[in-house]
């Protein structure tokens, strides 16, 4: 009898070489899609009780505490990030705490692949991939946004100044990595607003 063996979306794929930023898949994260209304105080309080962190109310922000980080997706949707093996119980705890409150918490840990861009050119590579202005001061650590990325839908989170996590649906992980590998190819640096 075969036992379940977790395979990340990019299992077996070598990490790209010859790129001017580091690109790799992060497969240790669990994710919970949480729905509820920002205006519903009971919901907000119950969610905080379970997660230990306020759900961010401001668009495109994230709150983090310990292992749990919450990304704002919409006025009635959040993505809770936690350790992968904690996701099922956290989702169950949320569902239990939210019983009777109009809400929906779903463990979606396998739905998306997380690709991490790390390095000085990370923002530049994102500007080859999306139409957004990553040189804007709003794009600070903690920033979250869904956006059209190359030809697909993606969600990104600026983790640190030069570290950006891009969340794509699992089936597109190879496409996204192929695109990023090409966009970040050594020799194709643009050096936007970079002096010296």
């Amino acid at each position: 009898m075969l036992e379940p063996q977790f395979e990340p979306a990019l299992a077996g794929r070598a990490e790209p070489a010859n790129t001017y930023i580091t690109l790799r898949e992060i497969s240790t994260r669990g994710m919970i899609d949480l729905r509820g209304h920002t205006s519903d105080r009971k919901f907000m309080a119950a969610a905080k009780e379970v997660l230990g962190v306020d759900l961010p109310k401001a668009p495109r922000t994230s709150h983090g505490f310990g292992d749990v980080k919450v990304l704002w997706l919409s006025p009635d949707q959040w993505l809770v990030i936690c350790a992968r093996d904690k996701a099922p119980e956290l989702a169950a705890a949320l569902s239990k705490a939210l019983a009777g409150i109009h809400s929906l918490a779903v463990d979606v840990s396998d739905m998306r692949a997380i690709l991490r861009l790390e390095g000085e050119g990370a923002r530049e590579v994102m500007m080859k991939s999306t139409s957004l202005d990553f040189s804007d001061e709003d794009f600070a650590p903690g920033y979250v946004r869904r956006v059209r990325f190359a030809e697909i839908a993606a969600l990104f989170n600026i983790v640190e100044d030069n570290v950006i996590d891009v969340y794509v649906f699992r089936s597109y992980a190879h496409y996204a990595m192929d695109f990023l590998t090409k966009a970040a190819r050594k020799g194709s640096e643009v050096g936007l607003f970079k002096k010296g």
Partner: protein, 115 residues
């Protein structure tokens, strides 16, 4: 490439991050009263649209962003957006005041109904 601002999440982005949903303020007769809808009413609901040169009102979804639908008032000649407003709302009064033709009639009818 139009630059669109979602009034729900306040994100501004290229039109390719949004999805256009046709003319705004088309009432679905069946929701109000599924009985006794004439063929003509149903025809107008499905197919009759206001198609002005100039100020126009459309539905837009923040498709790649917060996912919410909203309304946009756009000048079809200059492509200028005069307003973005909620999906259940009417445009701001100053924009309604600029409406012409079929749209002017429509907003006058809505005002009358409100009274």
């Amino acid at each position: 490439m139009l630059l669109v601002t979602c009034p729900v999440c306040n994100a501004t982005g290229d039109e390719t991050d949004f999805h256009f949903g046709g003319q705004a303020h088309v009432a679905r007769p069946a929701t109000a009263n599924p009985e006794g809808i004439t063929d003509e009413q149903q025809r107008d609901y499905l197919f009759a649209r206001i198609n002005p040169k100039g100020l126009h009102f459309e539905r837009v979804r923040c498709d790649r962003g917060c996912g919410k639908w909203f309304h946009a008032a756009r000048d079809t000649m200059t492509m200028e957006f005069k307003a973005f407003y909620g999906i259940t709302e009417l445009p701001p009064d100053d924009v309604i005041a600029q409406a012409k033709g079929g749209w002017a009639e429509y907003f006058a009818m809505r005002k009358k109904k409100q009274k």
